[in-house]
Symmetry: C2
Subunit: 365 residues, 2 copies
């Protein structure tokens, strides 16, 4: 078995796992359905109480007029950008070079919608006001991802966000929020979801990151925007006869976890300082601004893997299921704090980090 596979297996079998909410198995859905009466009627092609009530509820949470449930964020965001581009008859949008749309969607935006992307900022930092001001091309829409996942979940300060929003409104640039992890950043900003969303014309939120549902997303905005998004949802093949498995689980885990994000955030800061106390490790950001961060090792993936693996096997604590490559000499893990963290006995966690630190010292000597 490869070291990569061994690590994934060891993580699964570990007594306590540091990140996440627990295994992604079908019990997640069974739990969500357990208390619901079997006679509850399915949504049918976007209609019916299950879908309409959830859309209404999340629209209110986000402070938007209207909301539409989508099977995926990929679909929801391409559609949002298409609507804004069509409205301005300009097939150009701006976003971060590490946006999900740029690196994880096989160029759907370009291949399906023929929309060009202007990449703002560089790969190491978030988009700033001056990046937007200095753009030399006209765009229909700017998409901001909060937090910027691929750089450890970094955030601009809220004031800068306000300034970017004001600038975009002045220039007639629509602002779309990639809020895949919106609920995760509210404790740092000390704002409500509606306060953050009020800066944006349209908003996407996900239900399987911090919320921990099965899949699915909400796209919210004004009524004309969401009505048009439903037509595009059908064109994309996303207007399924039944979306209820995703909606019911989204609702169930939203209710279960919506008030836990302040705790995840505090735990993420505590956990980051445990990592930062180890030899050679640096977290990005140095202090998390959400429930997530990256842990960087000054080691190639092939050397970091056995370290994490042996620390996991020795202590019964699963640090991560996989290690990712930065470059030939550096690697990192992505951490998202969820329900698992609070279940780890403090002494076991301290001990695990002592062991990890010692193993790093040996490798880095």
């Amino acid at each position: 078995m490869s070291a990569t596979k061994q690590l994934a297996e060891a993580f699964k079998k570990s007594r306590y796992q540091i990140p996440g909410h627990g295994p992604r198995n079908i019990q997640v859905l069974k739990h969500a359905l357990a208390e619901l009466d079997g006679s509850l009627e399915s949504d049918i092609y976007g209609k019916g109480a299950i879908i309409e009530e959830f859309e209404k509820k999340i629209a209110a949470v986000l402070g938007k007029e209207s909301a539409v449930f989508f099977p995926s964020g990929t679909m929801a965001q391409q559609i949002a950008l298409r609507i804004w581009c069509d409205q301005k008859s300009l097939s150009k949008v701006a976003y971060h070079p590490l946006s999900h749309l740029e690196i994880h969607e096989e160029d759907g935006l370009k291949k399906l919608h023929r929309i060009e992307s202007v990449l703002l900022a560089d790969k190491t930092r978030v988009i700033r006001l001056e990046d937007v001001q200095n753009m030399d091309t006209e765009v229909a829409c700017l998409l901001l991802e909060l937090p910027q996942r691929e750089i450890g979940g970094q955030l601009p300060e809220f004031d800068e966000l306000v300034a970017i929003s004001a600038y975009c409104r002045e220039k007639g640039i629509k602002l779309q929020l990639d809020g895949a992890r919106l609920f995760e950043i509210l404790p740092y900003y000390q704002k409500t979801a509606a306060e953050v969303c009020s800066l944006f014309d349209s908003v996407y939120v996900s239900f399987y990151k911090g919320i921990g549902g099965l899949a699915g997303s909400i796209l919210a905005g004004d009524e004309a925007f969401t009505q048009e998004s439903k037509i595009w949802k059908r064109r994309h093949g996303g207007d399924l006869i039944s979306l209820y498995p995703y909606i019911l689980s989204a609702d169930y885990y939203f209710e279960k976890r919506k008030d836990r994000f302040p705790a995840y955030y505090e735990q993420a800061k505590e956990l980051a300082s445990l990592y930062n106390s180890c030899h050679g490790i640096k977290t990005v950001p140095a202090e998390p601004v959400s429930n997530m961060f990256h842990v960087h090792f000054p080691l190639p993936k092939e050397q970091a893997e056995p370290v994490i693996l042996s620390a996991c096997e020795e202590t019964g604590i699963g640090f991560a299921a996989s290690i990712l490559v930065v470059d030939e000499a550096n690697s990192y893990i992505e951490v998202s704090v969820g329900d698992n963290y609070a279940g780890i006995p403090a002494e076991a966690l301290q001990q695990a980090f002592r062991v990890l630190d010692q193993k790093l010292q040996e490798v880095l000597r």
Copy 2:
């Protein structure tokens, strides 16, 4: 309450319902999950045992090299046509004027893929060999829907299908099967699914029509084709982190119902003759060739509704949940025979048709 709504309500509340498998409620999913162990791991972005094993199983049923699970048929078929068009650098396909792609998808094929459609045959009949031979435009692909749902589920004879397939192969036209109701037509053709599919380059089948799952579809073909379809699935936003609610229910109901289609077909013929024995009614086709057919009334929708409604309320037998418009003077209902039919006591059914006939006589007098 409108007559349309009253009819829908009366159908739901009726003691016995003629068409379908029963209510579309969340019990359908609960049943499919009930016997499965909660620790069964989710599929993750198209990988994992749940999705891969089902894809392999259905590929074998269809006699194709490979298969991919999609959340919807809309997505699967647009993608199939796109792949064939790209391969020939020709953005033109042919299908029936009442194809799902032409009338139910908000022009997704045109708006997302910029593929033009050439409409073959007229709206009252299926595509024949001579329609294909007489096409005056070159196309990359011909899509055939078997059975042609919007005209009551009509079929060409199998020999004609063989001839169309041979002609397309000779001319380098790819042949895509819209097999939303493929399992439903096998008893009439007296062929296996693989025998029918062997005439086609690529095949889509659905899991929520005759099979009665929640949603979802399979697209099958050779390995290169299905690999490319996975890239497009991601572009469409259909490569969800978890598709298992659809896959598990598709598998559960496929196993439960795959051998019942001969019975549904026989029952559909029996049911059609009951309808045809009523004053003014004509079914299309006159004798069904699958589990489905249409029932035409020489009455406007507004006059047909109270007839069906009162017959339903008087007898406790639900004929249909809705009546559709043909034109100002004519209307129809769509019937698909499923598990419900066999549960109706023969005498109650006979009595219901006597009452329906009498009411029709009164209205048509």
